[in-house]
Chain length 157, copies 2
Amino acid sequence: MGYASVVEQALLTRPKMDTTVCISEVTPRMRKLEREAIYRDYIACLNARDWARLGQFVHDDVRHNGRPLGLDGYRAMLENDHAQIPDLHFQIKRLIADPQQVACRLRFDVTPRGEFLGLPVNGRRVTFCEHALYAFRDQKIHEVWSIIDKAAIEAQL
Amino acid sequence: MGYASVVEQALLTRPKMDTTVCISEVTPRMRKLEREAIYRDYIACLNARDWARLGQFVHDDVRHNGRPLGLDGYRAMLENDHAQIPDLHFQIKRLIADPQQVACRLRFDVTPRGEFLGLPVNGRRVTFCEHALYAFRDQKIHEVWSIIDKAAIEAQL
């Protein structure tokens, strides 16, 4: 019995269950799960301030809100964020992933020093969210589009 | 030969190609594509101001940024947006979907009347983006989390 007829026989005689023979369908699903896992590791890296590992997650040619920062510029941006917000911690509230992209609702409960987004926060505790979308290339974050909920911060001042 | 050994035999003798027996793997991929299609139809419905069709896309118990608006309240919110912004048009810039969720970067190039998000726009043309995340239930939008790039609008005034 050749391969095709063995599979045909298996399909004809299979129990009634949600089982399907599919071609190349595992790959996008696996890439989606891989994206999620890489993204969660990236957030853990940020929370650990483990800048030496940043290049494992972020592409050398990364862009942020249209600006071509590159990995060094991206790291400088993050280090500046942590200097401005000493208790900065990224909390994932919702995560949506497809094979090439991730979207995340991130929550912050922090006390920024001085001005933050042009607002006189001056060490007060504020909670707010950020919605960030990411496109991947070579298994790394290659482009980021981020919007922070500035109106939510204003409402707390 | 029972079902299990037939499948085992098929796997052992299968040709070297990207073919895999998988369980329930087609369904998430199809649900992702279905989410994308429903979402694009939803945006077309908004742009057509076709409020009679809104219930095809939006759940009776929809919530928006934590507020339990329900379908009627959601429609009232959208009608108010269109009254405030007569040339309101939703443009999809990026779309990320998984089986139960959608994330979208939406772009607007509009002239809001009077105040918009507390800013004195007063009929000036502004371009800005919104990042919206959606959770689905019963094939419909059940929860929305939206952040509008208020800082981008401020920078244009």
